[in-house]
Amino acid sequence: MLRLAVLLQAAADSVVLDERTSFWTEGGSLWLPPQESTTAHEVDSLFYFILYTSLILTLIVTAAMVYFVWKYRRKNNADRPVDVIESKWLELSWVTIPTVLVLVVFFWGFRSYVSTSIPPSDAITINVKAHKWAWTFEYGNGMQGFSEVWVPVGQPIRLEMTSRDVLHSFYVPEFRIKHDVIPNRFSYVWFEAPEEGTYQVLCTEYCGTAHSNMGAKIHVVSRTEYYQILQNGPPGQGPLPPAELGEMLYTQRNCNTCHSIDGSAGVGPSWLGLWEAPRPGSPQGVANEEYIAAAILYPQEYYAPGYEGVNMPGYEGQLDEEQVAGLAAYIRLINDAATESDLTLDAPADSTGSDTAPPAGDGMDDTATSTE
């Protein structure tokens, strides 16, 4: 009881936590996570309506059941049923009452569906590309965010989403939005976050090995901060020494799903021992800087011996030159072959390096041609 009171109090305060740490959240409830979008309450009110109606119905059903079992329990071997004449009114009532209830629920659901699915006309559009197993966000000015996106508070945002490989689904529990992301098609969701904070994006359409690790973060920031980020690039993604950039990408882009760095076998070859390992596809015969770059961008053309046919997604158009070089530097680092320039930040590469990466390319093609 006390807990409930605390919860209700918390709901009223509607304090936003940066990230959830416990199951009992402030602003949330037993059933639903906190409402962090302008449309969340529409979904929630219907949810609770059905929940409580169902609860009452289930209780009635259970109570009737238990009562009858008790009242009419067999007391005697020779117990005889009493002939019961079916009551038209009773039967009619359990046809009409549910009918009315479901029609109410239907219209309610329909109305909130319409009002939550049409974005306001002043929404800003951000492009979202899903691929195994990460999300890339692309702003109008060409800035990209990998597995992270920054949006201004109190502003409708429309996401224009497409996939490079298989189906994914974009889900933010706190916003109550979800939509499948489909290759060769655009789909849309929109939201408006009234509070600053960081929210978790989850992939809810099964997409293979690392489906459960295909998260992303939505940072809702103040308008000024948002414009700053648009100009200066994502915070924390400023210039990094190549090897460090590579290290970050290794986890951020889920390379670790298939490639270990301790020599253990995985879906793909381990990166430990990769540097200068013999590779038939390389002009020099070994895995060097060029080879690694090519194998990341067009994996289907450069199979490592023993891994032929493994379906690694191609990163053409998803990683720019600097990032690919960073990964190569990281591979050198774990193989103790790092050079001075791998570890230092030399030429202050312009922080929005992604500017130069043309958002082109056709990842899908790789799967289509790989059978040749």
């Binding site: 199951f23 037993l30 059933w31 639903l32 996570p33 529409e42 979904v43 219907l46 949810f47 059905i50 169902s54 289930t58 059903v61 009737a64 059941m65 079992v69 009419y72 329990r73 067999r74 007391k75 071997n77 117990d79 005889r80 049923p81 019961v84 079916e86 039967e91 046809v95 549910p98 479901v102 629920v105 659901g109 569906y113 939550t116 490989d165 189906l167 529990p173 109550r176 979800k178 489909i182 290759p183 060769n184 789909s187 978790q200 992939c203 809810t204 099964y206 293979g208 090995t209 489906h211 459960s212 690790n213 998260g215 670790n256 301790d262 253990s264 879906v267 379906n311 899908m364 289509a368």
Partner: protein
Amino acid sequence: MATLTQAPPKPPKLVPREARAYPVGHEPVHNYLREPRPADDVRGLKRAWAWFKLWALSVDHKRIGIMYLVAVSVFFTVGGLLALGIRTELFFVNTYDASGAVVGGNIMGQDAYNRVFTMHGLVMVFLFIIPSIPATMGNFLLPIMVGAKDVAFPRLNLLSLYVYMAGAIIALISITTGGVDTGWTFYTPYSKETGTAVIAMAMGAFVMGFSSILTGLNFIVTIHKMRAPGMTWNRMPLFLWSLYATSIVQILATPVIGITLVLLVMERVFGIGIFDPALGGDPILFQHFFWFYSHPAVYIMILPAFGVISELMGTFSRQRVYGYRAVALSSVAIALLGFLVWGHHMFTSGQSPVSSVVFSLITFLIGIPSGIKVFNWIWTMYKGSVWLKTPMIYALTFLFLFTIGGVTGIMVGALSVDIHLHDTYFVVAHFHYVMMGGTVMAFLGGIHYWWPKMTGKLYNETLGKWSALFVFVGFNMTFFIQFVMGSQGMPRRYYDYPDMPWLEPLHQASTIGSYVLGVGLLLVLINGLLSIRKKTPRAPGNPWGGATLEWTHTTSPPDHHNFHHTPLVTHGPYDYEVLFRSSGDSQRGAPVPDVSVGAPQEMHVTVDDGTK
């Protein structure tokens, strides 16, 4: 009455010792379990082989039903153990080292997990639940309940068993060739890219579809053409009505999954492009095709369960099933409406919003006939005589769990709410409540109820009640929590929940619940095995006082041609009153007679029905 029948001559030598309790002339001498049997002079291994052939090649619907029962129980155990694997994996949230490699909290890798839950879903759906009630109890009881000696096409019936086995083997081969990791829904384009075992699995499911069609076809023809004299449609037990509705769905929906799976295989083999967006095809079309079958398929799973529950509620309340006609026709209504709602699985998939709205509306309409059933069952107990035996306990469990499963179905059927809940554990909980809490509970209830009929032995009542308790507690602990997890945002098909570690305690409770559930089911199994030992006493012909033909007109276990005489049906399936009257004790309120295999009741066998 005795003068009406010329009493058959009594063959004194043939009466087995146990059968003495039966009315003269109606001893179960031709017990289907033993008859036909190898000739007496065949001995040793040869005898075993002869026995095997007499069973494996038998076209007797009862033997086929028993063989199906063994097969689906094995697959249920396999699927259940895989489920325990799923739950155990989710017990801890994984810990990762600096490089992102998993260092703890897991028992299997990501790919292994994906295969495990896919196999769990596929085994449970295609190998277990679709054949579960129709192929076991349906096969065993349908001909008896209509008063026929067998189904219309006994050899097709046997064929369906072997087709099912072949499909199951093909499906299991896919595990040895790498396993399938697509989820049981086979969504393209993922299913086109991933490992090649998809082909074997899809073909396995395709082949099993034939078996399902053959069963359905047999049932419809049997019900239409082979009812005994007097068995009008309105005197059919509700189990038959529900099997009839199920068969309609099996026949109309299964070919579509068949062609869908063939197209999927062709997609993989030749790249025909229909479902592959890279070739201009449409992955949403695949989903439409898949759900056009798979939604009606959920009614293939639940309708037979409805039938079992109707029988149980009637017999154990010793009361006519309230609103017989409404219950019968609502099965058919559900079967037909069920064809028009498949799109409710695709609200977030990108199908047109208009169709989403229509699908949502029709989805809700299905709640109405389902409600009619639930309320009628409950009212059946009204002024009845409720006998709380194990089957009845399972039936009441069904009512409780199915209601929860059903109303949460309404919840995910509401457009805007489903946007939030789709593909989360809320949906997982919903469908386990209807499939495990609904169908499997009815399956267990039915097995207990007809166990004496099928095996001739009574299970242990105390052990039965204990198992029901464990199952009830374990089930709710496992899956109720999943509703909460799901609405809090836990997506399904997740190997790990690194982004929501605060869900760990809930996952742990759910996992522990699944172990309790496993113990309960193990008790069921043990109970069954104990009961078929030699020393367990034989069951009487009608231990529960049922009024349908399998209780009133056959011995336990039935004769290999079911009836000595084709029965003449003179009353409804739940007219328990008639049983009293026919026992000649209408006024004094004597117990329901035990056996009345078409013979005058010169002899009453008193049953200890536990109500002293």
